[in-house]
């Protein structure tokens, strides 16, 4: 390849051509590789530590949004799989492209065919910042996206992490924590986890709720309620611009208050299924095409 800069330009263009909305590049920090392979990955011995292959030098992150209307109708009507499926296809095609250039490449796709933690890689690659809810918040899609990663030894110029004001905003805004039915998101300060400061997420509580819902598996309510997850129209883009450029933090508080009163959701407990004391509620009404009862005799 002529230069890492040109290669980065080419890879980004190709990723967009292949259908990715987001793309970022970083050197892979080995801290983000799982110590052991996930179960269900086909490894005979999951207790044996994973060795980071030499050719995992760079990580290219691609990402696509989840369908907006179902996202807002979580937990009953949304699914992560639409976006994961799209990102998976982009990653697989990107891998084929890189291999044709003569370099090694491997796709990593959450939920089960991957060997690394994706959010910190997204942060390193300048895709966005990690929010209180642990999900990465991007300037383009808020947290409404699902990523995939390609590890490779193709020499490519890395991007830098970005600052869009999420860290300051999350200090005052606790909307995701207040709306999480499982109480899995911390309302307090960041804590140190394996040497890195972040908001603690009780993954077990979150996972339990994911597996208790009746919809297409999962929850994603913290993504749906996050003020950053609003469509990129003039209104929300302006609000984002104001908060990002206001050093006083005053606009963060005003906008969080407005978000609370203008875009309220059901009581968090009502998201549970009736047998667990809830009403099987959704954050917003589903779109007409997801109302099965209108099309199928039940």
């Amino acid at each position: 390849m002529k230069s890492p800069e040109l290669t980065a330009e080419l890879i980004k263009k190709i990723a967009h051509e292949l259908g990715s909305t987001l793309v970022g590049i970083t050197r892979l920090n080995p801290d983000w590789v799982y110590l052991h392979p996930l179960t269900r990955r086909g490894f005979e011995n999951v207790d044996e530590p994973l060795e980071v292959p030499k050719h995992w030098e760079y990580a290219i992150v691609v990402g696509t949004p989840m369908s907006w209307d179902p996202l807002y109708a979580n937990p009953n009507y949304g699914t992560s799989m639409d976006a994961y499926a799209r990102s998976r296809i982009v990653a697989a095609r990107l891998v084929a492209f890189i291999k044709k250039l003569g370099y090694a490449a491997r796709p990593h796709i959450p939920g089960n065919s991957y060997d690394l933690m994706v959010p910190p890689i997204c942060v390193d690659a300048g895709i966005g910042e990690q929010g209180r809810h642990s999900v990465v918040i991007t300037p383009e899609l808020g947290c409404n996206f699902r990523p995939a990663v390609v590890t490779t030894n193709l020499p490519v110029k890395p991007d830098k992490p970005i600052d869009i004001g999420v860290q300051d905003f999350c200090k005052h805004c606790k909307i995701c924590a207040e709306n999480c039915p499982a109480g899995a998101i911390a309302t307090g300060e960041k804590v140190e986890v394996r040497g890195y400061r972040r908001y603690h997420l009780n993954a077990a509580k979150c996972n339990n709720f994911w597996n208790s819902t009746l919809g297409s598996m999962g929850c994603r309510l913290c993504i749906a309620v996050c003020p950053y997850t609003r469509k990129a129209n003039w209104l929300h883009k302006t609000a984002l611009k104001v908060t990002t450029n206001d050093p006083t933090g005053l606009s963060d508080r005003v906008l969080t208050g407005l978000q609370d009163s203008l875009y309220p959701g059901p009581d968090p407990q009502s998201y549970y299924i009736p047998s667990l004391g809830g009403e099987n509620a959704s954050y917003r009404e589903p779109p007409w095409w997801l109302k099965t009862e209108d099309f199928v005799d039940m």
Binding site: Y72, K231, L262
Partner: protein, 106 residues
Amino acid sequence: MQLFNSPFFWFLEGILFCLVILGFKVWAEDRCVPMPFWKWLLLVAWMALLGFTLAFIGTSLGEGEANAAVKGGILFGIVVVISGVGLWRLIMIGRRTRGRDAPADS
């Protein structure tokens, strides 16, 4: 909904805005209301606020956020009405009535 995203809509908006401003200018001259630059500035700011309120309601409805449209419409609507009354009083400062200003022999 396509209409609201089209260049034609903004073309129409621009014409309407110019007509409103021109109409106001004619009205002010007709009523002998002096319009120094600061009144024009306040008027344009108020019109921007009115436009924001209408656009907020429309955008919220378009997003399926009826609650935001109603609550935001009321909140910003009250601000528009109160500031509109204040602006009206400011604009009327210095208004001359024809009778008093007209020469005695006319």
